[in-house]
Amino acid sequence: MPTIEPNEPTHSLSMTDEIPEALLAPLSDSEREKETISRPSVSYWKMCWMRLKKDKLAMLGLTVLVIMTLLAILVPMFSPYTYDQTDFAHPLEWPSALHLFGTDKMGRDIFVRTMYGARISLTIGFTAAAINMVIGVLYGGIAGYLGGMVDLVMMRIVDILTGIPSLIYMILLMMFLGNNIQSILIAMCLTYWITTARMVRAQILTLREQDFALAAKVCGLSKWQILIHHLIPNSMGSIIVTVTFLIPSAIFQEAFLSFLGIGIQVPMASWGTLANDAIEYLFSYPYMMLFPASAISITIFSLNFIGDGLRDALDPRLKK
């Protein structure tokens, strides 16, 4: 029986050969520990979250947004004033300790109104964002990936939807459902996903021809898997930019409707309507414009920071 050196390749042993006793010695503890995986396994989403947490600006944006949401919920509940409480003894007062953001022409407290407006504006903004992410991304993704006739028909439907003057169906919705936030939200569901859908479709058109998409196909992945796991994550950048821009545009669309008399009506308030109302006082009482406009700006800044961080965190190429 020939002696076998321990470092000889093991494939020289045929199945029938007996393994010599010398090779069966147990590993020492230190050697065994080398093999254990010291870090717990991390899923893709967990990894993204870990990367996002390291991004200081994104975390700042997230914190500001959370604070803004909390203020929107809590301030109208605990403030000594209500959003519609008029005080004709103190109209158009500049900001003071009594009225943090001053009062408007009816003596209503602008601080409470801004925070109350945040409820409506943030709801509208976030709904617009959610619709974008779901309908827009899927619609555009399917049209772009399947291509051909499917793409032609799906994108012509989008053209038709863009062509119908939005004011017409908004008036109709308000008529049937009333001048309330629900009808505005439904009106937004109808068309707010279109820009995202176009954007995603354009990206998918180029991405599906790239080598990694071919590789995924060769590996036997289904069309759906390729679309969801490989193509859409690669178009995240423009999706996120579109979403962060559609949120303010939704907020202003709502204000525009109120301006035409078919949105939410006074004494209710949103950031957009507060900014609208402040226009006539822009030069005499600029604080009335300053606070709602700053609230919108701060939100958009935060969203941009989060969007930037999220884009980097979601990018699978940046895996460390």
Partner: protein, 308 residues
């Protein structure tokens, strides 16, 4: 390619037809009409009924629809119910060139400023230029455009008296409306360009070009730009269609006699023929712009196979 364009144009005509049909019926579902009693308080009801009869508004809806489509096929979009002695064709012919001039300048400004700003922000990420573009973009979207308009008008027309506050009699009259129109578009294009460029700059072929010693300007301008401009092209298509047909707020504030004003006033006035005429017009623009955009995809990125 010719076959593809033909196919798209056919599809475009079909969608236009569907668009007109939907808009026609939706418009008539809204209560009130151009001559409803609530609109014209001082006119006796009998006269209103007679006027409605004259314009065929008392016929069944389907008859009105058939008549409208028949006329539309002859290129006749009817007469305006609100502007006396004006056909919709005349209205568009008079308003469109004005809106289109302002709109075209707005589109050009947005592209000329937005694209380079986005590229610079991406290349110098985290530096001063990037921060500037971020602040600019945020202001561009978070301050409503009418606030910017009013502020500009106050500063340049009222305080410093550099530009006229209304009309387009000289080149000076164009500057403020064009700037206000382009402002928020620049913001969006900058962000879109930046995000897309950042992704492209991470790609291996960019590293390859750099390691070959290709000058940075050429790497960015030739290789990276071509691969990252797609989202901007996508956005610009519908944007061109809507800016060329006029912007409501800009035209109202600067008293520009374009088409944009009618998009809102015609609907609130129930001026059916004007609403439909504008819808057909804007719809055709959208369809043509998106066709051009799709062809541009294939030109910019030869891998895209749109004709299949």
């Amino acid at each position: 390619m010719a076959k593809y364009i033909l196919k798209r144009l056919t599809a475009g005509i079909v969608s236009l037809f569907i668009l007109v049909t939907i808009t026609f019926f939706l418009m008539h579902v809204i209560p009130g009409g151009p001559f409803s009693p609530s609109e014209q308080r001082n006119v006796p009801e009998k006269i209103l009924v007679q006027i409605s009869d004259k314009y065929g508004l008392n016929d069944p809806l389907i008859v009105q629809y058939g008549r409208y489509i028949g006329n539309l096929l002859h290129g006749d979009m009817g007469i305006s119910f609100k502007k006396q002695d004006t056909t919709v064709n005349e209205l568009i012919a008079a308003g469109f060139p004005v809106s289109a001039r302002v709109g075209a300048l707005g589109v050009c400004t947005a592209l000329i400023v937005g694209i380079p700003l986005g590229i610079i922000a991406a290349v110098r990420r985290g530096k001063l230029a990037d921060g500037f573009s971020m602040v600019f973009a945020t202001i561009g979207v978070s301050v409503p455009s009418f606030v910017i308009c009013v502020l500009m008008m106050y500063l340049f027309c009222e305080k410093w008296k550099i530009f006229p506050s209304y009309g387009l009699r000289s080149w000076k009259g164009y500057i403020l409306p064009v700037f206000c129109m382009a402002f928020s578009q620049i913001a969006y294009i900058t962000r879109l360009m930046r995000s897309s460029m950042l992704e492209t700059l991470r790609q291996d072929y960019i590293r390859t070009e750099r390691s070959k010693g290709v000058p940075e300007f050429q790497v960015i301008g030739k290789y990276a730009l071509k691969n990252s401009i797609l989202p901007v092209v996508t956005y610009v298509g519908p944007m061109v269609a809507s800016l060329l047909t006029g912007t409501f707020i800009i035209e109202k504030l600067f008293s520009i006699p374009g088409l944009g004003r009618y998009f809102v006033s015609a609907i609130t006035d129930r001026d059916y023929s004007v609403v439909l005429g504008l819808t057909v017009f804007l719809g055709s623009m959208i369809i043509i712009c998106n066709l051009v955009v799709d062809i541009m995809y294939a030109v910019i990125d030869p891998r895209v196979k749109i004709t299949e």
